[in-house]
Subunit: 341 residues, 2 copies
């Protein structure tokens, strides 16, 4: 009869739990700034933003890996590999059997400038045959991970073709409820309709790519000034609170591997951001329910795709999503793509 007694005890405990939940519900209903309990369909809406920016591991395997000194630097799509072969340059060794690309010997063991010059010469050939468009005459460092020394410099227009990692900073500019201490409003930027990327879409108050040579916090302060007229004395209060990442495919089929450093900046009620560099049409102060509705929206008035992930993370970190929402644990984990850090 031991199973029967254990079962009775189990049912008794579940029953007691229900009674306890009822007793506790009075405390919880009075707690200020209660988290949003999302439905399964609403959670699907949040996951869709993450799926939109990530490819599955099957699709990943189609890309050629670009390896230098045992470090995986990037991913190339097969059509770009064919392009590289057509120009018949000897800078790169292409191995089709294991889909790997190396620098040819002895270039792989040479200096940053030697490699950069050889790669520049190859890129010039591609530019002349029309294979690289939008030439910028601007060099970007190629790194294996954030904070590492550059392995070589590469023309900016060619960077996406090599699927190397890119980094950025996103700032959540928010107001806190005096009563509950929980964020009550988020500043929302509306992108200029003249922007070439994501015109007219919603954006963070401040966000930008991470250039080489500048610290993250310095970049935050610089972007705060340039994008929203936030003075350095206020911007320096931004806190580094998280990071998100994704591995997606851009419109040209290139692998886009981004990691974004997330900052929270609590702003005084009286502060009004102003557009400065013409990239933003206007700034709007919106309550958290409005922002959540935009995350779940399917109409035109939505956030630029990668902002959604940073804002989902903001909702989680500030206790604005009830962990009883279906697949909460999966949502927390899905914000960081494996292998893209």
């Amino acid at each position: 009869m031991s199973f029967v007694s254990a079962l009775q005890s189990y049912r008794h405990n579940v029953q007691n739990s229900l009674i306890f939940r009822l007793k506790m519900s009075s405390f919880l209903s009075h707690a200020a700034g209660r988290p949003f309990l999302l439905t399964s369909a609403q959670m699907d809406g949040l996951f869709r933003h993450i799926e939109e920016l990530n490819i599955n591991s099957e699709a990943y395997r189609l890309y050629y890996t670009f390896v230098l000194r045992d470090q995986l630097l990037g991913y190339l799509q097969p059509s770009f590999v064919s392009t590289l072969q057509e120009v018949a340059d000897l800078t790169l060794d292409i191995n089709h059997s294991n889909r790997t690309i190396h620098l040819s010997n002895p270039l792989g063991s040479q200096s940053v400038s030697d490699i950069s010059i050889a790669m520049a010469s190859l890129m010039e050939k591609l530019k002349e045959s029309g294979k690289i468009r939008g030439w910028r005459n601007e060099l970007l460092p190629v790194v294996s991970a954030y904070g590492e020394e550059p392995l070589f410099l590469l023309e900016r227009a060619a960077v996406p073709c090599f699927g190397v990692k890119a980094y950025g900073v996103h700032v959540n500019g928010f107001l806190r409820s005096e009563e509950s201490g929980v964020p009550s409003h988020l500043w929302v930027a509306r992108r200029s309709k003249q922007k070439s990327t994501w015109p007219g879409m919603l954006d963070h108050i401040v966000a930008g790519g991470q250039p080489h040579g500048l610290g993250l916090m310095e970049n935050v302060i610089k972007e705060c000034e340039e994008e929203a007229s936030i003075p350095a004395s206020l911007a320096c209060r931004a806190r580094p609170v998280s990071a998100i990442s994704y591995n997606g495919i851009d419109e040209q089929g290139n692998l886009k591997r981004d990691a974004l450093f997330c900052y929270d900046l609590e702003l005084p009620k009286e502060f009004q951001p102003r557009p400065l560099d013409g990239e933003v049409e206007n700034f709007e102060l919106r309550d958290m329910k409005w922002v959540l509705d935009r995350l779940l929206a399917v109409d035109e008035d939505r956030y630029k795709p990668n902002c959604n992930l940073v804002i989902i993370d903001f909702f989680i970190r500030h206790g604005l999503i009830d962990p009883e929402s279906p697949r909460y644990l999966q949502l927390v984990a899905a914000l960081r793509a494996p292998g893209c850090l």
Copy 2:
């Protein structure tokens, strides 16, 4: 000469960045509650806590998977599978070629109570042959994910042998600096030296397993009362802010797959927690530098292993770790083990 001009421009930008960093450093050095910039060795110390609780994918493959209705419920070590075979019970089908265990037909499609009774009978046999020790006569629900309906009930002493998922709640009880708004102190519990697990080690102010039938927040309120005499009126201010997870091996070689829901509870300066159920020896209020030193310590006075992950997450979320610390992005991602949510 285009490469040379691009290189000059690149060098000019890096130079400008350095000048800008110097200009900004005066603002940053005055910002209150500056994040800790950790060295590579210190970051290694934090990663060690995560590695200690996780096994690699190679070791994973040695375990047999336990599957019910296409849902992966658990992992069994080969020695326990041999034990199951020795008792020659027909409840489970063991497939050695693909290392998978199913319920035998037609049991797999039957009701929760039918499966629970069949499993109870098998567990009784293992108990009689001394293969399951510490019998509790207490049934726990086996679920495929948090919040799902139980697939069957299993004697508590047998749960670790099946490597099923377990859930818990951990509460960071903290004080905030009035000046900077950043957490200044964390309440630290010292576990009773009489506890069978991790005696005398440091712990969260409140933490506990998640029982079936009770909501997460109700469990937090219940544990706050039982472990630290925190009244419900105060405990209900706890915010659900994150989750961490790990896949490790316990002392018996069983796979331990836990996910912990993390709560932040800001406590008033005048509040003093008191031990109630005898599990805690005393509570100490410690500043964040002291807590960080305990995370990095190699001596005796350390946190219970899984607390380290929750506290690393706390440091990250509150901007207490500088993202320029080496491998910051990897640290953020490593707190959630894939497949254990």
